[in-house]
C-alpha cells in the first residue's frame, strides 16, 4: 500500500460503482438497439453488486457478499427471459430499434 501513489480507499469503489451505474442508466436511455439497452441493464446490476461488496468489506459483514450471489442468479434469469423476448421481436422485425416500437402509442 505504502508504495502506491494514492491510497485506494473503499470510497473509490463506491464512486466507480456509481459511475458505472450512471453509464448504464444513461446508455439505456440514449441507445436504441434493444440488445445494447439490455447490456446497459446488466451494467447497472453489476455496479450494484460492486457497491454491495464494497459496503460488505467496509462494514465487515458477510451479508453484503451473499447478496451478490442472489443478484447474479436474478440477472441470469433476466437474461434468459429478456433475450427470448428480444429474439421473438427481432424475428418479426429484424432491424427493430427502440424507435421502431411505435405501434403502441397515444
Amino acid at each position: 500500500m505504502t508504495g502506491s501513489i494514492a491510497q485506494v480507499t473503499p470510497a473509490w469503489y463506491l464512486v466507480l460503482a456509481s459511475v458505472v451505474f450512471a453509464i448504464g442508466a444513461v446508455g439505456l436511455l440514449v441507445r436504441r438497439n434493444p440488445l445494447v439497452m439490455f447490456m446497459c441493464v446488466e451494467l447497472m446490476l453489476n455496479a450494484v453488486t460492486l457497491t454491495f461488496v464494497t459496503f460488505s468489506r467496509m462494514l465487515n459483514d458477510v451479508n453484503g457478499q451473499t447478496v451478490v450471489v442472489f443478484v447474479l442468479v436474478v440477472a441470469a434469469a433476466e437474461v434468459v427471459v429478456g433475450l427470448g423476448i428480444i429474439v421473438a421481436l427481432l424475428r418479426k422485425q429484424p432491424t427493430a430499434t427502440a424507435d421502431d416500437l411505435t405501434v403502441l402509442k397515444g
Binding site: V41, L59, V67, E78, I85, L89, K92, G106
Partner: protein
C-alpha cells in the same frame, strides 16, 4: 478413502447449523410454486389431448388451496397469545397484513385464470404455460408482500416481474404483444436496477437489509449524515413507482396494457399492483417510519401527479384498454394518498382500496377479453357501440364495474375512495383530499364515455354480432360484480378485516421455535 470419510462424518460432533424455519408460514407460497411445477410436469407427461379447461381448473383449485391454507395463519396472527411471527431467519413476516394481501393476490389469480381459459382457446394458444407463469408470478407477489428483508423483497419482485415479462410477450402472432413485452422488460429491468441500488445504499447506511434491524438502528441512532439512507430510499421509491405505475414512472403502463394479452393485463393490473403497494407500505410505513417526515412530501407530490395525469390523459384515449390503463394510474394515485397519510387509518384505507380495486379491475379486463375478437383485437371504443343490444347482461356487468371504478355509491369503489379521503383529512392533508375528489370527477367522465358508447348506439350503429361468452369468463364476471356490489352495500366486513390486517415488524425469535414474549412485535 471412503472409510476415513465415513469415520470423519460419524466422528464430527458439531451438527450443521441450519436456520429455524416455521414452515406453516410458508405454506401458501409452497402451494403456489409446487402446484405450478406439478402442472408443468403433468402437462409434459400426459399426451397432448388434455381436456380443455383443466389448466384453469387446476389453477383455481391451487389458488383456493392457498386461501384455505391462509385461514389458520390469519387465525394465528389475530390470536392475542400467538400473534404474528417471522420465519426463515426473519426474512419472511407472517402478520395480518401479509395474510390479507395473500388473500387479495389469490383472488386476482382466480379471476385472471378464469378469464384466461376462454381467451386462450379462442386464440388457439391453450396450454399450461400461462397458468404456470401466473402462479409463479403470484408466488413472487406473496413473497414481496410478506418480505421482512429488502433482499427478499427484491427476489419476490423479480420472481413476480420475470414471469410477467413472458405473460406480456406471450401472443407470438401479434406484434403489439411483443412490443409490449420488450417495453415492459426493458423498463422493468431498469427499475429493478434502481430498486437494488437503493437497497445497496441503505445497506451501506444502516449495515443491514433486514427491515427490523434497519428500523431498530434508525430509531436508536441519530445519523450525522443521513444522505446515504435518504438516497437509497429515493431509489427504492423509483423502483416501486415503476411497478405501481406512478407518474412520472408510468409511461410503460398504457403501451403494455394495450399490447399485452388482455387476461395477462387483468393479472398485471390487479395482483401486481397489490403486491407492489404492499411492499411499498411495508418498507416506507414500517421500516422507515422514523423517516416519515422526509418521505411523506415526496409521496404527496407523486400522488398528486399520478392522480392528475391518470385522470386527464384517460379522457383523450380512444382505446378502452388504454383508457383503463390511465384509469388504473389514477387509482394508483388514490392509493398513494392513503400511503402518504402514514397512519393506521391510511394503511387500512389502502388495503380496502386494493381489495376492492382488484375485483373491479380484474372484472373489467375480463369483459374486455370477452368482447375482443380473435387476434386480441377490437378494443377501441367503437367496438363497444351497441354492446347493450348484442349482450345486455355483459354490458350491464361492465357498466356496474365501471361505475364502481368511478366511485358511485352502493359500489365498493365508493367506500374505497371514501376511506382514502377520510384518512387523508385525518392526517391533515385536506388539499390532497380535494385534489383526489376532483380527479375522481374527471375520471368518471371516462367511465361514462364507455357506458354511453355501450348503451347509446346512435343511427350508424354497427351490425349486430354474436359475442361468445365462455362459462369460466362468465363466472369470473359474476364473482367480481357480486363482490363489488356486496362490499358496496356492506363495507363493514372488509373494512374490519383491513383494520385487523395491521403490518408489524416481527423480530427474529431469540430462542428458535419459541417466541420470546419480551420481544413482542412492535408497531411503528
Amino acid at each position: 478413502m471412503l472409510a476415513t470419510l465415513g469415520q470423519e462424518l460419524s466422528d464430527s460432533p458439531v451438527p450443521i447449523d441450519t436456520i429455524d424455519l416455521a414452515w406453516s408460514g410458508l405454506v401458501p407460497i409452497m402451494i403456489l410454486i409446487g402446484g405450478a411445477l406439478l402442472i408443468l410436469v403433468v402437462d409434459s407427461l400426459v399426451p397432448r389431448q388434455v381436456r380443455p379447461g383443466s389448466y384453469a381448473l387446476a389453477t383455481v383449485v391451487l389458488a383456493a388451496a392457498g386461501m384455505v391454507a391462509s385461514v389458520p395463519l390469519w387465525q394465528q396472527v389475530q390470536d392475542g397469545e400467538r400473534g404474528p411471527f417471522s420465519t426463515a431467519a426473519s426474512a419472511i413476516a407472517v402478520d395480518g397484513f401479509s395474510v390479507f394481501v395473500t388473500f387479495v393476490i389469490l383472488s386476482a389469480v382466480i379471476l385472471a385464470a378464469l378469464s384466461f381459459d376462454g381467451w386462450l382457446r379462442r386464440e388457439e394458444m391453450d396450454g399450461a404455460e400461462p397458468y404456470v407463469l401466473m402462479l409463479l408470478s403470484a408466488s413472487g407477489a406473496v413473497v414481496m408482500a410478506s418480505a421482512n428483508d429488502l433482499i427478499v423483497m427484491f427476489l419476490g419482485l423479480e420472481i413476480l416481474s420475470i414471469a410477467l415479462y413472458v405473460l406480456a410477450a406471450m401472443h407470438l402472432r401479434k406484434i403489439t404483444s411483443q412490443e409490449a413485452g420488450v417495453k415492459y422488460f426493458v423498463l422493468g429491468a431498469f427499475s429493478s436496477a434502481f430498486f437494488l441500488y437503493g437497497i445497496a445504499l441503505i445497506y451501506g447506511g444502516t449495515g443491514s437489509t433486514n427491515l427490523v434491524s434497519i428500523s431498530d438502528y434508525l430509531s436508536a441512532t441519530v445519523l450525522g449524515d443521513s444522505g446515504l439512507v435518504l438516497a437509497g430510499l429515493a431509489l427504492l421509491l423509483v423502483g416501486f413507482g415503476f411497478k405501481v405505475a406512478a407518474v412520472p414512472f408510468h409511461f410503460w403502463a398504457p403501451d403494455v396494457y394495450q399490447g399485452a394479452p388482455t387476461p395477462s393485463v387483468a393479472w398485471m393490473a390487479s395482483g401486481v399492483k397489490v403486491a407492489a403497494f404492499a411492499g411499498l407500505l411495508r418498507v416506507f410505513y414500517l421500516g422507515f417510519g422514523t423517516y416519515r417526515l422526509d418521505w411523506q412530501p415526496v409521496i404527496l407530490v407523486l400522488a398528486v401527479l399520478t392522480m392528475l395525469v391518470g385522470s386527464v390523459l384517460a379522457v383523450v384515449q380512444t382505446d378502452v384498454k388504454r383508457m383503463l390503463a390511465y384509469s388504473s394510474i389514477n387509482h394508483a394515485g388514490f392509493i398513494l394518498v392513503a400511503v402518504q397519510a402514514a397512519t393506521a387509518a391510511g394503511v387500512q384505507a389502502a388495503l380496502f382500496y386494493l381489495a376492492a380495486y382488484t375485483f373491479m379491475v380484474a372484472g373489467s379486463f375480463g369483459v374486455i377479453a370477452v368482447v375482443s375478437r380473435k387476434g386480441d383485437i377490437g378494443t377501441s371504443l367503437d367496438d363497444y357501440r351497441g354492446l347493450s343490444r348484442d349482450r345486455p347482461v355483459l354490458a350491464f356487468a361492465f357498466a356496474l364495474l365501471l361505475l364502481a371504478q368511478a366511485g358511485v355509491p352502493l359500489t365498493s369503489g365508493f367506500f374505497a375512495k371514501f376511506y382514502v379521503i377520510t384518512a387523508a383529512i385525518e392526517a391533515g392533508s385536506s388539499t390532497l383530499a380535494i385534489i383526489a375528489m376532483v380527479t375522481a370527477v374527471i375520471s368518471s367522465y371516462v367511465y361514462l364515455r364507455i357506458i354511453v358508447s355501450m348503451y347509446v348506439a346512435g343511427d350508424d350503429a354497427p351490425e349486430p354480432r354474436t359475442i361468445p361468452l365462455p362459462a369460466a369468463a362468465g363466472l369470473a364476471l359474476v364473482l367480481s360484480v357480486m363482490v363489488t356490489m356486496s362490499v358496496g352495500v356492506f363495507p363493514g366486513t372488509l373494512a374490519s378485516l383491513a383494520e385487523d390486517a395491521t403490518p408489524v415488524l416481527v423480530p427474529e425469535p431469540v430462542d428458535p421455535g419459541a417466541v420470546d414474549p419480551s420481544r413482542a412485535p412492535t408497531g411503528p
